[in-house]
């Protein structure tokens, strides 16, 4: 009996040690009441556009738009970054930024109008692009060469003009859950 206990204790200790030792830092949850974008100062919404990076000294910076994260990185070249996370636009799960795929078009509406939307895999990014009938799909390396521009001019994007800072998501609205839900989402959650 004693032996079993000792073994159990040992196993637990090993688990603990191995957990401490490695692995990537875990993404932090978004708290809409307290999180603001480290670049643009706007509230970070707990939505598909939120991103975050964790520095080597374990500081977490959250952003309302992946373009803001790039702007921040450009302004803080001295900071050593341990990991970056983006959201899968459909499931809202956090994905390591270098494993994600990105859909871009100036007409895609994102909180700060950078027009880049993130996905867990290539096929969902491609589906988003084909759903909108416009845009390109990039991987992380290609995104590194992307010129980040905010689409501030050009008037009406998209067909229906539904765009903007609505905060109208979830909560059993119509238009959820159909095939085009992500496209709809983009319009509903755009430019915060």
């Amino acid at each position: 009996m004693k032996k079993v206990r000792a073994l159990l204790a040992l196993a637990a200790a090993m688990l603990l040690v191995s957990a401490c030792g490695g692995g990537d830092p875990k993404p932090a949850a978004v708290n809409e009441d307290t999180d603001k974008c480290a670049a643009c100062n706007m509230q970070v919404k707990d939505d598909g556009f939120a991103t975050q990076l964790i520095t080597a000294d374990k500081r977490v910076f959250k952003f309302d738009d992946i373009g803001c994260m790039y702007a921040w990185k450009t302004e803080h070249p001295e900071v050593e970054i341990a990991i970056e996370f983006v959201r899968d636009h459909e499931t809202l799960e956090w994905v390591k930024a270098d494993n994600a795929f990105y859909a871009y078009d100036p007409s895609f509406q994102t909180p700060m109008a950078y027009g880049v939307v993130s996905f867990r895999d290539k096929s969902s990014a491609e589906a988003y692009v084909s759903g909108h009938g416009t845009g390109v799909v990039m991987d992380w390396a290609q995104l590194g060469n992307h010129t980040w521009e905010r689409s501030t001019q050009g008037g009406m994007h998209g067909g229906d003009g539904m765009h903007g800072d609505s905060g109208m998501r979830g909560g059993g609205m119509h238009g959820d859950g159909d095939d085009d839900a992500h496209a709809e989402d983009a319009h509903m959650e755009g430019h915060a």
């Binding site: 809409e32 307290t34 643009c40 100062n41 501030t152 003009g161 903007g164 109208m168 119509h174 238009g175």
Partner: protein
């Protein structure tokens, strides 16, 4: 008596007859009430005026021709469903005096305007969505409407905007009250809009500008929003005479925030009792003048901003007047800082000692946010005193005013009319006292 009775009866009959005359229109009205508002609109002639009979109507309604839709009292438009309660697609439409109640969350909003020169006035809008949305609509007027959230107890971040303009220019938004919405008034991608004399309470951002040019924001007031005025990536704005108080519930509350704002004027505003009065980041070429910045935790916070003129503001009763990082190269002078002990040897009303703004606390808390706990602590003041490196790169007021400038909060120049009135009153009292004493002496 009988004669009089007869006379009365005759009068009653006459009255009844008179009453019968409007019976036909009244009957028609009854019929109309059972008719939908859409049918009334469809029947009305383009360019005409339609007085909506009192009653409750169901949405949705689309107005696709120029029409004035007016209501005195008791006209309610009740709606739920995927379409906006009211959609305006024709130029020159006016809607006035209706109560709109919308229970559905939807992106298109409760009232959607897609045409130019539309006027929405004196409406009461209770919504679970965005109240008013203008898309590609120029030259409209949104006047004296009352907007409030009716979508239940959800956080403001999940609510809809009060008045939401997208790609819309030269609209006038005046005298509205907005309560408990997401952003009270949101303007994106529009030029030359005027936002004046509105009141916004308990919303996320009171007035939110995004990618706008030449927006006029004046005379607006608000309390208890997360941020009073959020001006982002805008140029040529004229933000004057607004008062935003008690933005302090949220950890990121501020009175007025500027982010990436250029060549704009922020003058004669009052920011009082906020967490941060003015927050300025990456903004250049602006003039921030004559503002009353009172009783905030931090008066102004300036980050990475240059080429701004910051002058003749009054800082009073803030826990910390100013914090600044990376903001040398601003012209800062002639502000009044009540916590600053100046020295005016030559008697020109300006301190000969500058008032430097120590960046220590901001730099420290940027590296370790938890050190914000030491905000206002004596130890922090001591450490700040030790920290003086790179002072040439600090923001500093070159010539602080010894006394508050007359302009702050008062008329544009010097002397107040009340001074003369007070003087006259004093003289009158003195004369009365002398007369009293004189008479008193004579009597005795």
């Amino acid at each position: 008596m009988t004669a009089r009775k007869r006379w009365l009866r005759g009068a009653a009959a006459l009255l009844a007859l008179l009453a019968v005359c409007p019976v036909r229109p009244a009957a028609a009205q009854d019929a109309r009430e059972s008719a939908s508002l859409q049918e009334l609109v469809d029947r009305a002639e383009a360019g005409g005026t339609l007085w909506i009979p009192a009653g409750e109507y169901q949405g949705p309604v689309v107005v696709d021709k120029p029409l004035r839709l007016l209501a005195k009292v008791g006209v309610r438009l009740v709606h739920g469903g995927p379409e906006p309660a009211l959609r305006i697609t024709a130029e020159g439409v006016e809607i006035r005096g209706i109560v709109v109640e919308d229970t559905e969350r939807r992106d298109a909003g409760t009232i959607l305007v897609e045409a130019d020169n539309v006027r929405l006035a004196e409406l009461t809008i209770r919504t679970a969505s965005r109240a008013v949305r203008l898309v590609g609509a120029d030259g409209g007027e949104i006047l004296g409407n009352a907007i409030e959230w009716a979508g239940g107890n959800v956080p403001v971040s999940r609510r809809g905007n009060g008045i939401d303009l997208y790609g819309s220019n030269r609209n006038r938004i005046a005298g509205n009250t907005v309560s408990g919405m997401h952003d009270g008034i949101y303007v994106e991608n529009g030029d030359g809009n005027v936002v004046e004399n509105n009141r916004i309470d308990r919303s996320r951002y009171g007035i939110h500008l995004m990618y706008t040019g030449q927006t006029v924001v004046c005379g607006n007031t608000g309390t208890q929003n997360i941020t009073g005025i959020m001006a982002m990536t805008s140029h040529g704005a004229d933000v004057t005479g607004n008062a935003f108080t008690k933005q302090h519930e949220n950890v990121h509350s501020q009175g007025i925030l500027l982010f990436d704002v250029r060549d704009s004027l922020f003058a004669d505003n009052t920011v009082e009792g906020n967490r941060v009065g003015f927050y300025v980041e990456e903004s250049h070429g602006n003039r921030i003048a004559g503002n009353a910045i009172r009783q905030n935790y931090i008066g102004v916070q300036i980050l990475s901003s240059t080429g701004n003129r910051i002058e003749r503001n009054v800082f009073a009763g803030n826990v910390t007047d100013a914090e600044a990082v990376g903001s040398a190269g601003n012209e800062v002078r002639e502000n009044h800082w009540d916590a600053f002990a100046g020295l005016d040897a030559d008697g020109d009303g300006r301190s000969d000692l500058p008032n430097p703004v120590n960046p220590f606390f901001l730099k420290l808390t940027e590296a370790v946010p938890a050190f914000q706990l030491f905000f206002g602590s004596p130890g922090m003041a001591f450490l700040e005193g030790l920290y003086a490196s790179g002072r040439e790169g600090w923001l500093e007021d070159a010539a602080p005013l010894m006394e508050p400038p007359e302009t702050a909060g008062d008329g544009p120049d010097g002397r107040r009319s009340s001074d003369a009135a007070a003087g006259a009153l004093g003289l009158a009292l003195l004369a009365a006292a002398i007369l009293n004493i004189y008479w008193g002496l004579r009597r005795s």
